[in-house]
């Protein structure tokens, strides 16, 4: 029997009780060293990615977030108790440091979508082109459009950071995206400043009616939880 791990928290007395997680199994608290993990038993070797399971995972973490700031684990983290103990032994200081970093904070996200047609920055040349030159001409438009899009994404990211920077503790903004999505930002914010952040985003939105803003939160600090990029994902087949 393995354990599905939802999140790590500093031991607190007010963790929610009677939580049900993936497959409706009761979530329990497992204390290892200075940390508490919320886990539930899971009998199979892989966790099916279904809407219900994903939402159950998120709901457990969200319940904890109401009481304290957890470090959320990624969906599908299946371990034995022994593996978890080894993990704590190996990462104890890093985990403490990361918990300290997010203490008292939540994460807010903003995604910005643009309807701009970036290939229009370089108009098509109206000449009698051979298929080869037509292809190259179109390719050139795509490349120039992509460059213009990347430059605009960077400008918007800097502008948005300027708008909200004074009320956030940490930022993680990605601009190397594709399609209509211009940027995706995550901000770590002290709980008492979240309303200020919402106001700042609302003001920013009024300044740029040409852009679509998707604001979501409050989240556990998913974007600020990972400590090392080295991981391997196993894809099973149910």
């Amino acid at each position: 029997m393995k354990l599905h791990v939802y999140c790590l928290v500093e031991p607190v007395e007010t963790l929610p009780t009677s939580l049900h997680g993936i497959a409706g199994v009761l979530v329990r608290q497992l204390d290892i060293g200075d940390f508490s993990f919320l886990v539930s038993d899971f009998p199979d070797r892989s966790v099916p990615v279904t809407r219900g399971n994903a939402l159950a995972h998120a709901a457990v973490i969200q319940s904890v977030l109401r009481e304290t700031t957890p470090l959320p684990f990624r969906f599908g983290t299946l371990v034995t108790a022994e593996q978890l103990e080894n993990y704590v032994t190996a990462k104890r200081e890093a985990l403490k440091s990361r918990l300290e970093q997010v203490r008292g904070c939540i994460e807010m996200n903003v995604k910005i979508i643009s309807d701009h047609k970036w290939t229009d920055v370089c108009p098509a040349i109206e000449t009698q082109e051979t298929p080869g030159t037509a292809f190259l001409s179109e390719k050139r438009r795509e490349i120039l459009g992509s460059e213009a899009r990347a430059a605009e994404a960077k400008r918007v990211a800097e502008w948005l950071e300027g708008q909200v920077g004074e009320v956030v503790r940490q930022s993680d903004i990605k601009t190397n995206l594709t399609g209509r999505l211009l940027l995706a930002g995550a901000w770590l914010i002290e709980r008492e400043r979240v309303d200020q952040f919402r106001i700042k985003v609302a003001e920013a939105r009024q300044q740029r009616p040409d852009l679509h803003f998707l604001l979501s939160g409050s989240w556990a600090p998913y974007s600020f939880a990972n400590m090392d990029l080295e991981f391997k994902t196993h894809f099973g087949v149910s």
């Binding site: 791990v5 790590l8 892989s46 966790v47 099916p48 990615v49 279904t50 809407r51 994903a54 939402l55 995972h57 998120a58 973490i61 969200q62 977030l65 109401r66 470090l71 959320p72 990624r74 969906f75 599908g76 983290t77 299946l78 371990v79 593996q83 978890l84 996200n109 979508i113 309807d115 995206l177 594709t178 209509r180 999505l181 709980r191 008492e192 309303d195 609302a202 939105r205 679509h212 998707l214 604001l215 979501s216 939160g217 409050s218 989240w219 998913y222 974007s223 939880a225 990972n226 400590m227 090392d228 080295e230 991981f231 391997k232 994902t233 196993h234 894809f235 099973g236 087949v237 149910s238």
Partner: protein
């Protein structure tokens, strides 16, 4: 402070707020969070997630599908 995951979208988006909220949740639980090396084990067959062309997310699932397609090609 509210802990509801509120989505404020610009006008003209065709997705309902409920769908956007679901997609945002999936983006977080599938793509982010602490990882214990080698211990993410998910199953992607019989998937019932919703897929939309908003370029918002699901890179994890897209990657999974790609792996499955490649497996299928090899077995053919």
């Amino acid at each position: 402070m509210s802990f509801e995951q509120i989505i404020v979208s610009g006008s003209g988006d065709s997705l309902e707020e409920q769908e956007l909220s679901l997609l945002e949740t999936l983006d977080h639980v599938l793509n982010r969070g602490l990882v214990i090396a080698g211990e993410i084990t998910i199953s992607v067959a019989d998937i019932d997630l919703i897929f939309v062309g908003l370029n918002v997310m699901l890179s994890s699932v897209e990657t999974a599908q790609q792996v499955l397609r490649e497996r299928q090609k090899k077995s053919e």
